[in-house]
Every structure is written in C-alpha cells, then in structure tokens.
Symmetry: C2
Subunit: 134 residues, 2 copies
C-alpha cells in the first residue's frame, strides 16, 4: 500500500507552476487551469500546492498584505515584490545567508528555513510615475 496517487489535477497544477514565468498565486494558478479543465476546484489547487511545498518542489513566497505566491524551486535566489502592482520578481543570490543561518544554532534554534523578501517599486511602476509627474 504505497500511497500518493498521480492524478490529472496534480499534473496540471505542477505544469501551471512550472510553466509560469511570473510567480503566480493560487488564484492565478486556478485561473490558468480552469480554462482547460473546468471542473477543477480551488480546494484541490490549494491542497496540491501545499503538497508541492512540503515535497520541496515548489517554494512559497509570502508577501505583505496579499496571497502567497509560488515559485518552482530552481537554485538559490530571493524575491522582490512591487509594493504597487504586487508583481513578484527574482533576485539572484546577493548574500550567503546559509552562513548566517548556521550561526542561528547559538540561539538554540533548530533552523528549518528562511525567507528573504524585498519590497520596492518595479521599473514599470517607476516609469508610470515619471509620466504622471511631467
């Protein structure tokens, strides 16, 4: 009795996250699937995203005042969210936080994960500001 069945839905959700060039949230993933597979439920999307996160195949990106975003885990990088349009972009590894993470043991904690998210104004939104000011 192994357990962990492969289902159509699981496949579609994994595809949707993998294919996305942005960092979609659960609703956006649902939207992208429901066109081709109208019977899919939001609950299934949330459930499977959680599974993928638990399995380490997908990273959950928690942002200020909005739904979680999801990212196929491909190497070490951080994220930056635009505080205006809410889009999420990638930031290449800037600091080696794994070193910092190790020293956490001096605090008596057993480290599980860490999350670094930058907040700023993206190039596009900066541009539209300039347009408005003129």
């Amino acid at each position: 009795m192994k357990e962990k069945r492969q289902t159509i839905q699981k496949g579609l959700i994994w595809e949707a996250v993998s294919a996305a060039d942005n960092h979609p949230n659960a609703e956006q993933i649902y939207d992208s699937i429901v066109v081709k597979h109208p019977s899919i439920s939001r609950a299934t999307v949330y459930r499977n995203l959680n599974m993928l996160v638990d399995e380490g195949k997908v990273k959950r990106i928690r942002v200020l005042g909005g739904p979680d975003h999801f990212d196929r885990t491909l190497g070490n990088h951080f994220h930056i969210q635009c505080i205006e349009c809410k889009s999420v972009g990638d930031i290449e590894m800037l600091a080696d936080l794994s070193i910092s993470a190790d020293s956490l043991e001096t605090y008596g904690y057993e480290l599980d994960s860490y999350e670094l998210v930058f907040n700023g104004v993206c190039p596009d939104c900066k541009k539209s500001h300039a347009a408005k000011v003129q």
Copy 2:
C-alpha cells in the same frame, strides 16, 4: 489644519507595543489593552498599528500561516519564528543586507524595505521533543 490627533487609544497601543517583551500580534495587543480600557475596538488597534508601521515606529513581522506580529523598531535585527509554538524571537544582525539591498538598483527597482524571517524550532519545543522521545 494639521491633522493627526493624539488620542487615548493611540497612546495605549503605542505603550502596549513598546512594553511588550515578546512580539505581540494585533489580538494580543488588543487583549492587553482591553482590561484597562474595555471600550477599545479591534478596528482601532488594527488602524493604529498600521499607522505606526507607516510612520516607521513599528515593524510588521509577517509569519507563515498566522497573524502579523509587531515589534518596536530598535536597531537592525531579524526575527525567527518557532514553527511549532509560533513564538517569535529576535536575531541580532547576522549579515549586512543593506549592502545587498543597494545592489538591487541594478534590477531597476527602487527599494523600500526588506524582510528576513527565519523559521525553526525554538529551544523550548526542542526540549519537549527530547522529553517525549525518552
């Protein structure tokens, strides 16, 4: 017509955040105030916490799967949350992220803030594990 009135409630909320040695969430702040000032409303607590965050007097700590926590901003430090008991602790500055932050401009972003949260098991929860296993 300046505008930004000082109220009893504002004072109480600021006091509550300042006095707390842990990193309370909105509900805990409400609870600590309501004993002495029973008429205070949750809405007022949320409203004023948001103001304090906007003014930079208080830092919002966003954690996985739970309410935001709040911390009086005192110098540069990060946070670590126990993934079991949900308590939030302080971590002294381990890496100079302001340097990393500067280089974000190469991405065309205008940086506003960043947030680094570690997730792990706190000393107390580790202890109770050990107790159970034996």
